[in-house]
Amino acid sequence: MSEGAPGAIGVGGAPLTVALAGQPNVGKSTVFNVLTGLSQHVGNWPGKTVEQKSGECHHQGNRFRVIDLPGTYSLTANSDEERVARDFIIQERPDVVVLIANAAALERNLYLLAELLALPQPVVVGLNMLDVAEQQGMRVEPHVLEAALGLPVVPMVASRNQGVCELLGRALALARKPESFTPQRPTMQADHQEVLVAIQALLVGRMPEAYPEEWVALKLLEGDSEVTQRVRAEAGEAWPKIETLLQQHEDAIVDIARGRYEWIGRMVRAALVRSRPGAITLTDRLDRVGIHPFWGLVLLLGVFGLVFWLTYAAAMPVVNWLDTKVISSVAEAAREVLTPAPEWLTSLLVDGLIDGAGAVLALVPVLVVFFAVLGLLEDVRYLARSAYVMDRFMHWVGLHGRSFLPLFVGFGCNVPGVMGARIIDDRRARLLTILLMPLVPCTGRMAVTAFLAPAFFGANAALVTWGLVTGNVVLLFLIGMAINGGLFKGAHSAFIMEMPLYHLPNAKTIGLYVWQNVWAFVRKAGTIILLASATVWLLSSLPGGEVEESVLARFGRWLEPAGAWLGLGEWRLIIALLSSFVAKENTIATLGVLYGSGGAKGLAELVGRTLTPAAALAFLIVQMTFVPCAATVAAIRQETGGWKWPAFSVGLLLVVSLGAAILVYQLARLLG
């Protein structure tokens, strides 16, 4: 965005803060990506499980700090996203708030503007997706809208990079002259206006300075839970009076909302022209299949199959190549370089770190493909349809369609799946989704299965793998029903979700999505998995340097009698299983270390020969359903705010996986 126009008055020192607000599905992230590119910093809002994205950009010699507020429909505290968005605007007081609005759903989008205008910050409207509006038979005149609203309205098609510069220019101009900001603001109906003024009067001098009294009064009338709690705590003796007033106006929220839409209707009346009402659009046609109760499900299964086929067919050869060629040659090279070093150091670096973390990093291609396909499905807005189609089935476990999305992500990696559960607004449903996540077989576990199944079952490997995945899904539903019925007493949560129009995918958006997810995984491999690989190596080398005599071997042998229950009377397998706690894909690396095989090819057969088919099946079952990996446990702790639920999850899966494996092993033995 650096234009460097001559004569621009540089505002030296602190950059201007621009908060990017908008409802979901308005192309806000496209705008943010165009503005900030790779300067993005992704983190968490302090104390909240909401993603915080910020970045920098330059325009006419000025520096901007751009904060991407979470996409929200309103500024009422219905969800953490909404709380985060409004707290930022109120407390951090950005120089300008830029509202990105979808021109194809103008009225609904301006609802957020009506809310923003109750706060003092100057607002610029970026009227985005004008091309989509045109396709939908709507013409929006930005100048007319600007004149009606009394604030800058910038026409944009962010996906084609149109209007983004002008948006920054108008934001800059407004930030320089905030006093010029005199918009039309929505007003209340007369009867509620009286109460509003009365409550406002009671609040004078009782609220923290940053909070405008009129806004607080408005939110009280809307029944905003967070504001109500705060005022109850801080208003002192004024609270009973306020409470009485509020009780007399219980239904105010509906009237306030209606009032806002009436105001919006007046604002857009002249600016919005509908040319061909009721035209059958592309979305209508695609949705005839996409959301059909039967064909939609068929399509979803097809998409599902395609995702996995692409992921494994396209990425697995690369993984094998990395594993057998690149990593082993790195290991060889390291061994040569390290010849003068003591043997234990060579062993630590080569057998421990390079082999261990390397095997995990070799999975990166799988994740790249998986997240690219998922990002594509999200960007064309298909994922919302999948949630809609799956809603019926998610109800079986007391969840709704929204929970399907993070569970789907979990097939790539459970960690972003757990974090993705944030999109579920209901706390109970979010917790249940997180608890079910470890039953979704991630690429790590699938890699282990794909590696071992052919050696164990030969031609039947594909069938067995399919059966294992189905088994996981069945278990997920059974356990979901049990937790929902037992722990949560069969509660039901509300399913309310926008079904956006289909949308042409944007390469940059998908690229950044892949980059952020894969980079998070690589960082994990670089820290947790590296440390764990070193630990496994240490335990398998001490005290004498011989695997057979090591601490780990002794521990494994001690567990052998228990392992015999599920046919795993072999300490190496038990240890390999335990090491999957570090990272699921570690199982292969550990088997490699313990069986001491050089080439990966021979390893699977070597292991296969030691097991009966029943025991091999039991091993794969435990492996597919075993306790969540360390990174997932850490993610669960972070998302649930304590150790209680991660501990519950580990305990639950320990019981489930061992139980399932023992059952299958004993049955298989009985049946021969």
């Binding site: 429909y73 309103s74 009422t76 219905n78 194809a104 759903a105 103008l106 009225e107 609904r108 609802y111 939908q136 709507m138 809307e222 029944g223 905003d224 839970s225 219980e250 239904d251 929220i253 509906v254 909302a257 209606r258 839409y261 979305t283 949705d287 959301i291 109760p293 919302a384 809609y388 809603d391 019926r392 109800h395 709704h400 369609g401 039901h492 509300a494 399913f495 309310i496 979700m497 926008e498 079904m499 956006p500 129009l501």
Partner: protein, 104 residues
Amino acid sequence: MHRRIRPAKHHRLGFWRAETKPLALHTLVGLPAGARAVVRSLHGGKGFSARVAALGITPGVEVTLIQNQRHGPILIEVRDTRVALGRGEALKIEVEQIAAEASK
């Protein structure tokens, strides 16, 4: 979900009791795909009302049913956007059907 739906205040005075000309008052669950209706009231408490209002569903607005099967969620079009609602949620939205012959 199972509690009876109270008629909203403004209904008590006028047409709620007018039995001569029956008006089609339903919840969203009771309407077939293709039907058009005007939202009359929301019955789900403040939190529910605030959420659906932010998605465009307020008394007086016109909605079109896009999909309503016997099971599963309901899809409506409201203010140029499509919103999916669970059946439990759709049951809390009271509507009045308009011009049934206009249905597709």
